[in-house]
């Protein structure tokens, strides 16, 4: 794959004085940031070499954010651990889509900076497939991607090399002129300053253009946009002023003023002519961006399906002999896919219905018995509800163990109370005949419910067993718990 990248990526840090160049450089080189800054300032006096270097890095090095965004990788699939059960190892690992870039000139060599980064490289190197894609831990993966940031950045921007080389050359030229002046060569300041202004202004404007295009306007906050416009305007003003002073040469106010008027008129004319073209260009850009967003979404869905459904199907084919395994895999996958399709990932799962569902899923996975959950209403979780969930879990485990077929769980939560019914279709048992030492039913279900002010009733016949757990609202007895927050029509799968 690639040689190990042994330093943190060179990115502009957010801990910054001007543009984060020095602190980014310090991070990258492993030097104290103070010295880097001091060195940079000293270099500024060496004929402005520091300024040139700083400007060069400023334009060429992405910020940490941009770098992260560019290298953002889809998160590992949540199903992966559930699907790749221990018994069914060796799911083919996803071939890493690493940029096939060697160490770039800027990041080569040096002692290992962090063990994690090396570990990350190792992890992504194991494409022969021992373990599922979930094996790519988030941290190690991040380090790895961060490590190749600059390398990928170079290859990513191959097409736009021309502009950057030009800019770098211009900056080097400035530095050369400054140094030449230092050695006594006569450089006319009258030409130099406007030229510098033009270059500086252009650089600022270009940077702005670059950033907006990279990040996409949508990603930017309003404040950033305003800042961007200010920068653009400042760049423009610098360039115009520089051009004027250069062209008018004399620096007389009257002439400058006239020239300014003329140039504004010309600019206005040009803008008028170019406006339709510009608008069209903008629209094209928007269309292209929308297309890219769609493409990204599609890629994300494809990635999810690959990590979840395809892996599960592969596992099912391999384990076709074991009906229980197949059913378990299919149900786990179905649940995962449903959760992914129909629920909001950011949704807070501090609600009772979600807890019950996750407990049911757990029982289903461990016993391979389908557990159907129907919920009506919902309520916030409290300690008492946790006890209810634990009692329900015990009942579900019993149902899955001793009952046959599907286990039905029904949760109804109203302002007055919360009830859970767990029904199986097993041969049934006599609740009164349960020996005293069997803690499952006596202690984990009945006792637990009683301790928390609730009740449990078990009815059993030859057609099945039903456990009914009732927990009155907290304010009905203790008064210290929060009022039940009943949401009719709340999340239900």
């Amino acid at each position: 794959m690639t040689t190990a990248v042994q330093r943190p990526a060179l990115v502009r840090s957010s801990d910054r004085m001007i543009a984060g160049v020095c602190s980014g450089l310090a991070d990258h080189l492993g030097w104290p940031v103070k010295f880097v800054r001091l060195g940079m300032i000293l270099a500024c006096f060496a004929g402005g070499a520091g300024v040139a270097f700083y400007a060069w890095l400023w334009t060429m090095v992405p910020t940490a954010d941009e770098s992260a965004k560019r290298n953002a990788r889809r998160p590992a699939s949540p199903i992966a651990p559930a699907v790749s059960l221990p018994s069914a190892a060796a799911a083919p690992a996803r071939a890493s889509k690493a940029y096939d870039a060697g160490p770039s000139p800027a990041v080569g060599g040096g002692p290992p900076a962090a063990g994690a980064s090396a570990a990350g490289v190792q992890a992504s190197g194991s494409s022969n497939g021992t373990g599922s894609s979930a094996g790519f831990g988030a941290t190690s993966a991040d380090d790895w991607w961060g490590g190749s940031a600059l390398a990928s950045w170079f290859s990513f921007r191959k097409i736009q090399y021309g502009k950057e080389i030009l800019l770098g050359a211009a900056l080097l030229l400035v530095a050369a002129i400054l140094i030449a002046r230092q050695f006594g060569v006569d450089v006319p300041l009258g030409t130099l300053i406007p030229a510098a202004a033009i270059l500086g202004g252009a650089a600022i404007a270009w940077m702005q253009l670059d950033e907006t295009r990279r990040a996409g306007l949508v990603d930017k906050t309003k404040a950033d946009q305003a800042g961007g416009w200010v920068r653009l305007a400042a760049g423009l003003a610098l360039v115009v002023a520089g051009v004027l002073v250069m062209v008018s040469g004399s620096g007389s106010w009257e002439q400058t003023w006239l020239a300014l008027l003329a140039s504004v008129a010309v600019l206005g004319g040009v803008a008028l002519v170019l406006l339709p073209w510009g608008l069209k260009f903008w629209k094209d850009l928007e269309t292209e961006r929308a297309g890219r967003v769609r493409e990204t979404e599609r890629a994300e869905i494809a990635a999810h399906l690959h990590d979840s459904v395809l892996q599960t199907l592969a596992l099912i084919q391999r384990r076709a002999g074991s009906e229980q395994d197949v059913v378990r895999l299919a149900r786990a996958q179905e649940r995962e896919l449903r959760a992914w399709l129909f629920s909001d990932a950011a949704k807070e799962s501090g609600l009772l219905a979600d807890r019950i569902k996750s407990v049911a899923a757990e029982v289903e996975d461990s016993h391979g018995q389908a557990v159907e959950v129907v919920t009506v209403g919902d309520t916030e979780m409290t300690d008492r509800h946790e006890a209810l969930v634990q009692a329900a879990r015990e009942a579900m485990l019993n149902a899955a163990r001793h009952g046959g077929g599907t286990v039905s769980v029904y949760l109804e939560s109203t302002a007055g109370s919360t009830e859970i019914f767990i029904k199986d279709r097993g041969p049934g048992f006599d609740p009164d005949a349960v020996p005293e030492d069997r803690l499952g039913v006596k202690e984990s279900i009945i006792g637990r419910m009683k301790r928390h002010g609730g009740s449990a009733a078990i009815t059993s016949s030859s057609n099945g067993t039903e456990v009914r757990l009732t927990l009155p609202s907290a304010n009905a007895d203790t008064g210290e718990q929060r009022n039940n927050d009943v949401r009719n029509g709340e999340a239900k799968q």
Binding site: R338, F342, S343, D344, K347, A370, E372, V374, T375, V376, G377, T406, S408, Y410, E412, T414, F421, K423, N463, E466, N488, G489, A491, K492, Q493
Partner: protein, 224 residues
Amino acid sequence: MTTTPDSGAGRRVRVVIVDDHTIFRSGLKADLDHRMDVVGEAGTVEQAIAIIAETRPEVVLLDVHLPGGLGGGGREVIAGSSALLGTTSFLALSVSDAAEDVVSVIRAGARGYVTKTISGKEISDAVIRVADGDAVFSPRLAGFVLDAFGTAPADIADDELDKLSARELEVMRLIARGYSYKEVAKELFISIKTVETHVSAVLRKLQLSSRHELTKWAAERRLL
């Protein structure tokens, strides 16, 4: 087009299967027992409407999500066959748990809703039940109904479309808890026929009610 030899037990229900997955259609065909004949199959909205008009089956097993037409899926098939609603019953099949899918197809006129994971025996029973003019509720659909109508009984039981009567609520609760119609009847000391009457009444309310929650709720679900 019979799938199983006629055992001669009772009448045979003529069934049309509408689903865009061929594999699922053939699996379902094999699952239906000797009490029914599959007289047609369709994979798109247009095909479905055509074959239903042509064969006039008693029961249509209808996938909620179908390609073709105006994108309305199963709902569009029911709307397109509305002239036959008196003689043809629709039983919605779905892998989707999304309430708006289920409720919209029920409100369009389907007599019930079952999930595709249902067993062969259960689906056959459900088809017979729908053919007899009864409604088929899965636990999940009962849960949707309880969610939509609320769990408080109506004050005036009759003639109220926007609320369920106390008895209907009991029936819905038991179905949501996983009880079969027979078990519900036993639990409430009523006949199966009475249970079916209650379920049909709930279905009618679900179809006709303009209860604010019912329309708004489905729309809101999409946002979840």
